[in-house]
């Protein structure tokens, strides 16, 4: 039981970057843009979040205010991820470039961008690697939201506390984004318009919806959300130190999770929990498989999901109809 609680806890922590990536890509794809550059935007967000705090501390002294630290990290990673998505949007929406290739290019560019700035900032700092102060790191630590639960004598309550109230702030923020997105997409006019743009831009255009604006905004905000996932990687998983190649395929798993979550933000919560769990299961459930092969489990599982969903292919849950295709009003 204890082991299971620990596995769940670790799965949530490991699944968070996947959650952000999946949510960002769902929002993007809802507008009909298929941005394959999640991996790249995550790298950009990772360096964005870390360097915002790094430079703040460099010029204003060590970070004392944890709230400010969190806000800066989220803002920095969001903006950098959004910058990547802006490049993508400009190329695909305005300049009508192929979405697949632009996304792949964004991955190449973003990976270089993250590693490049991570290394160069590191090489110019005193310690020769890029890191933030212990005070700032504390803002991203896990803590007990409800101390009375953690201090209770009951093992059940302690377990409950750990499973639901024992995380860092970015976890709750991610869950909040998922819920807000689910609500906006389902119940608001904006959500309806956005879905219309993704399903049939020509119809949306005829109905007076500004297709380009919706596509731009959804893609850029989506990219920003992916960027926060990157910030989570550099600040929580790598513990505030720049590690080269830190994203390491998580962005790609997120792209696959969008299919697993059938374009539903609420189901993205479940999907990222499962895949977060798969990526750390080796430490909790030994199966007698060599470590190196056990580590490929999330990738094998992704393939299984891809095959399963494509063989099954229910119509109601399918991808937005116009996803991956550019919309030219003049060539309707």
């Amino acid at each position: 039981m204890d082991n299971l609680v620990n596995l769940f806890y670790a799965a949530v922590l490991a699944g968070a970057p996947l959650l952000y990536g999946t949510l960002g890509e769902i929002l993007t794809e809802k507008s009909g843009n298929l941005n394959m550059g999640v991996e790249g935007m995550m790298y950009m967000g990772a360096i964005g979040g870390l360097s915002t705090i790094y430079f703040y501390e460099m010029y204003c002294g060590a970070m004392a205010n944890q709230l400010l630290c969190l806000v800066l990290a989220v803002a920095g990673s969001f903006l950098c991820g959004a910058l990547g998505a802006l490049i993508f949007s400009f190329l695909t929406i305005t300049l009508r470039a192929n979405q697949n290739v632009t996304g792949l290019t964004l991955t190449i560019f973003g990976t270089g961008f993250g590693n490049f700035f991570g290394e160069i900032i590191g090489s110019r700092s005193a310690s020769n690697y890029m890191t933030i102060s212990t005070e700032a790191k504390a803002a991203f630590a896990n803590h007990n939201l409800l101390p009375f639960l953690a201090n209770s004598d009951s093992a059940f309550l302690q377990g409950l506390n750990k499973m639901f109230f024992g995380y860092n702030w970015l976890i709750y923020f991610g869950i909040a984004i998922a819920l807000v997105m689910a609500w906006v997409l389902k119940y608001t006019r904006i959500g309806l318009n956005l879905r219309a743009v993704g399903e049939s831009p020509a119809t949306a255009d005829a109905a007076g919806i500004n297709v380009e604006r919706y596509k731009y905004l959804a893609t850029i905000i989506g990219g920003g959300i992916c960027g926060i996932g990157g910030g989570y990687i550099s600040l929580v998983i790598s513990n505030g130190v720049w590690v080269n190649s830190c994203v390491n395929g998580k962005g790609w798993i997120a792209v696959a999770l969008v299919i697993f979550a059938v374009w539903s933000p609420a189901r993205a919560l479940m999907g990222s929990l499962v895949f977060g769990g798969l990526s750390i299961m080796r430490l909790y459930i030994p199966l007698g498989i060599p470590m190196e092969l056990y580590d490929t489990l999330p990738y094998v599982a992704t393939i299984v999901v891809l095959i399963f969903t494509s063989v099954k292919q229910t119509k109601e849950h399918a991808q937005p109809a116009h996803c991956g295709l550019n919309y030219f009003r003049e060539e309707r």
């Binding site: 697949n100 092969l293 494509s310």
Partner: protein, 370 residues
């Protein structure tokens, strides 16, 4: 929504509008691309300038680091070989609008198969036979690794981009496993032993003969794509699957066959890398070649002859970026940033080849076209 309708300006032309150009001549198209290249280089120069270095000095050092000495030139050619063949492999699948980004994994699969024979058959076969068997095994393994996603794509439309990408990580996991366990060299570090002399490719003019194979493949792929039925079928499937079906082509078979060819090319790279370049298999055998090859293929507009120049260009960038790391303390990942920027500009400039922007006040000077 009502307010948006009202907000539309009545009977007034938009400030600028976009119309499709009649096809421009090849030379105009390449002029626009050259301009984009210059713009991209200026953008990266700006970045270098912001870092406090002189861009011209950095670029000069970069080129010097890649081509300055004979050793450097050999190294640059050794980077070019896998890149060029990988670009050929990527191009034939991209031409089919099959987004194969699993070249990396296919290279590793080929490398694994070739390494098996290099390690365990070295005393059973004479050298030419051994090398031939290694090569065939590499091609076969790459082809099989590529055939898996192709089968699922052809049968159920499974997303090939993610499928091929996930197979990269799995192939890498297998290499790491072999390295740490079954094929490990006795001793401390998880490493696969160096190959025996007999399993190493011979050299010609200082570089392993992979370069001869690469040049031969450029010609072969050019002919394959331009002048054979297969190449024609690939183009048609890429343009429109419906058209291909209507014309009586077996789309599933074309997809699988093309991926098998692409995978065999990638597997061949695996063989060349383990037998010619590194004399062993490691997790760096593919080293990002599969991804960089996408850039090369796209920058070359899928033209095999242009790929020779572009892959050499990217190889110079990669080799030279190691030099600027030591001279200017600019990280080698700068090569990725420069490649990415270049590609962004190249993708963007296609717009100006295909479309024309008409401003409102110039309206009357421009003849209407559709």
């Amino acid at each position: 929504m009502t307010e948006q309708r009202i907000a539309l300006p009545a009977a007034k032309d938009p400030l600028l509008r976009i119309v499709r150009r009649p096809p421009v001549s090849q030379s105009t198209a390449w002029k626009i691309r050259a301009l984009a290249l210059v713009a991209a280089l200026l953008t990266t120069s700006l970045l270098i300038l912001l870092l406090g270095h002189n861009p011209i000095a950095v670029y000069a050092d970069l080129i010097n680091g890649a081509l300055g000495t004979k050793t450097a030139r050999i190294e640059t050619i050794k980077i070019t070989i896998p890149l060029l063949i990988a670009a050929l492999s990527v191009a034939i699948t991209f031409k089919m609008q099959f987004w194969n980004i699993g070249t990396e994994g296919q290279i590793l699969a080929g490398g694994i198969a070739a390494t098996y024979f290099a390690l365990f058959w070295v005393d059973k076969l004479p050298r030419p036979a051994l090398l031939l068997v290694m090569m065939l095994a590499g091609c076969l393994a790459g082809a099989l690794w590529a055939a898996i996603p192709a089968l699922f794509k052809a049968r159920w439309g499974t997303n090939e981009t993610l499928f091929t990408l996930m197979l990269n990580y799995i192939a890498l996991g297998i290499v790491k496993y072999l390295q740490a366990g079954p094929w490990k060299k006795p001793g401390g570090f998880p490493k696969i032993p160096m190959f025996d002399q007999a399993a190493r490719l011979p050299k010609l003019f200082g570089v392993h003969i992979g370069w001869v194979i690469a040049i031969a493949l450029v010609v072969l792929v050019y002919i394959y794509m331009k002048h054979t039925k297969h190449g024609y079928e690939i183009t048609v499937v890429g343009q429109s699957k419906e058209t291909a079906r209507y014309a009586g082509m077996n789309v599933s078979r074309i997809i699988i066959r093309t991926m098998v060819v692409a995978g065999a090319l990638a597997g061949l790279i695996g063989f060349l890398q383990v037998s010619g370049a590194n004399y062993s298999l490691s997790e760096n055998t593919a080293g990002g070649v599969g991804f960089t090859a996408i850039s090369v293929a796209w920058l070359s507009q899928m033209n095999p002859l242009a790929m020779v120049i572009v892959s050499a260009f990217i190889a110079i960038l990669e080799k030279g970026s190691n030099r600027i790391q030591t001279t200017f303390a600019i990280p080698a990942s700068a090569a990725d940033v420069i490649t990415g920027t270049l590609l962004f500009f190249m993708l963007g400039c296609e717009f100006f080849i295909n479309y024309r922007i008409i401003f409102r006040h110039k309206e009357k000077e421009v003849p209407q076209n559709g």
